[in-house]
Symmetry: C2
Subunit: 295 residues, 2 copies
């Protein structure tokens, strides 16, 4: 087993256990919204974003009790965004990770509130003293996460994506869209790990450059899988982006061109980590994984 495979299994288990503790008790006084938060956030697959945070922090010998909290915060943001994106008013997806999406399992109101609660709890976790004894670090994390996930990050990207349908985007346009919609959170995951680990400004900048290339490669591969995979392997409906005539990298480069572009980005991502030597093996492995993944 590669060092990447081993680390991502380890971190996924740590994050799953921590999320289970953070989330309100099933059937408790919060009832339905607690159940919906758990449905939308637990059993969540690979946990790539928390892995990036923990693996980046590991390079600075950061205690995992701290970096797992950063991983949980970014995963809560990721899960809230999936819950809201799946709503009938947005992408209208009934299936997520091979199971009914939150609004199908519960209802639209519960899904909206569960998403709001997860989004809010991400900041609660980062602001708590357990995340880092230095409040400057905690504030830096909260600030970066807010910028990555808000109007000038993920939410802004989602808005552009919805209203960009049937428009002709060039490479710069699609790249900018994906940098906001999915890239900003992937970038936060890596730099969040560097920040909680006490990395220097230069080291955090290297992590940022790595994650920007990685995020774009990730999205290109997502577009490829959306065209070539099947719903069972992917755990969600396929062909929707193409069907809805959304801007994708496949339309720009063709299938072969997209694969070449993704491979280039993965090599570039890894090169940014050379300064960290052998300690960067898990993160470099993640870049290879993003290129090779089948779901």
């Amino acid at each position: 087993m590669s060092v990447f495979s081993q680390t991502i299994k380890e971190t996924a288990a740590l994050v799953e256990a921590a999320l289970d503790q953070f989330l309100p008790t099933q059937g408790g006084p919060l009832g339905r919204v607690a159940d919906a938060m758990r449905w939308g956030a637990l059993d969540g697959g690979k946990r790539l974003r928390p892995f990036l945070a923990v693996a980046a922090a590991d390079m600075f010998a950061c205690p995992r009790t701290r970096s797992v909290r950063v991983g949980c915060a970014v995963e809560m943001i990721h899960c809230y965004s999936l819950i809201h994106d799946d709503l009938p008013a947005m992408d209208d997806s009934d299936l997520r990770r091979g199971r009914p999406s939150v609004h199908k399992k519960y209802d639209d109101a519960t899904a909206i509130l569960a998403g709001d609660a997860l989004l809010t709890q991400a900041f609660e976790i980062l602001a708590e003293a357990e995340t880092h004894p230095d409040a400057n670090i905690r504030c830096a994390l909260a600030l970066e996460l807010a910028r990555a996930s808000g109007k000038a990050g993920m939410v802004g990207g989602q808005m552009i994506d919805i209203y960009a349908e049937q428009k002709n985007f060039d490479f710069a346009g699609v790249t900018q869209l994906q940098r906001l919609k999915t890239g900003a959170i992937i970038r936060f995951s890596a730099i969040g790990g560097g920040i909680v680990g006490g990395g220097s400004a230069d080291e955090v900048a290297a992590l940022s450059a790595y994650a920007e290339d990685l995020g774009l490669a990730f999205q290109i591969v997502d577009d490829i899988l959306d065209e070539t995979s099947d719903a069972q392997a992917l755990g969600k409906p396929v062909g929707q982006d193409s069907e809805m005539d959304k801007a994708t990298f496949i339309k720009l480069f063709g299938m072969d061109g997209a694969k070449t572009k993704a491979a280039e980005l993965v090599e570039s991502a890894k090169a940014h980590l050379d300064r960290f030597g052998d300690a960067s093996a898990p993160l470099k492995g993640a870049a290879d994984f993003v290129f090779e993944r089948k779901s």
Copy 2:
């Protein structure tokens, strides 16, 4: 003009100008979501919550450049909650502050995203160094706001409210519901002002006690207005809570009993502020205002 009337006009103007700066530019690169955020957050009436934050901070001679930021953060949370609550999947309200609600003016997807963006930006503002030079203060603010607005606060209360319809609540039950749904954010407003102003733990606790009584009085008066006011005065549909058979204080106490209870709470709220002497006049005036308001 009372010191309260003067202060709330001043703070509303300061907050309006600051929100105008914080919010993304209309028609800018973020387009529709920026417009919707502005529609849902600007021209927002009395701005009672920011007033509480600024007036509480004023008692500690806190620079208003700082306290207005806390006020903007809590107002963004308040406005996001109204935008999401008004959605067809939730309360399905077409009218807010006498104007079309955000999803009526734009659409459901845009309203969901605009709410998400406002919620996220509240934490961005608190985490920024301009809010207070001491990161411990900024983290305390972010933590308290997250707790007030999340699963164990506003969102939890909203969830209970939706699923509590047609259930029989006693006074303790309705009080607990309102403490979460509306009280937690009002409490944050007051203690947020105390925290950013550098108040002692005792002083912040006094502000908390004041705000808890005030919040409950506010909600009782809300129930009274929902039965007695008209849509034009209130700027939103009336009689909905009663029609939907939601738990209200009127059902528990009757109209006269509810008025008596609100009056008692207002006196109790003011008594908690006696330790601050004359400096508490604006906050005491707010308590009287809450009781006397007609909309």
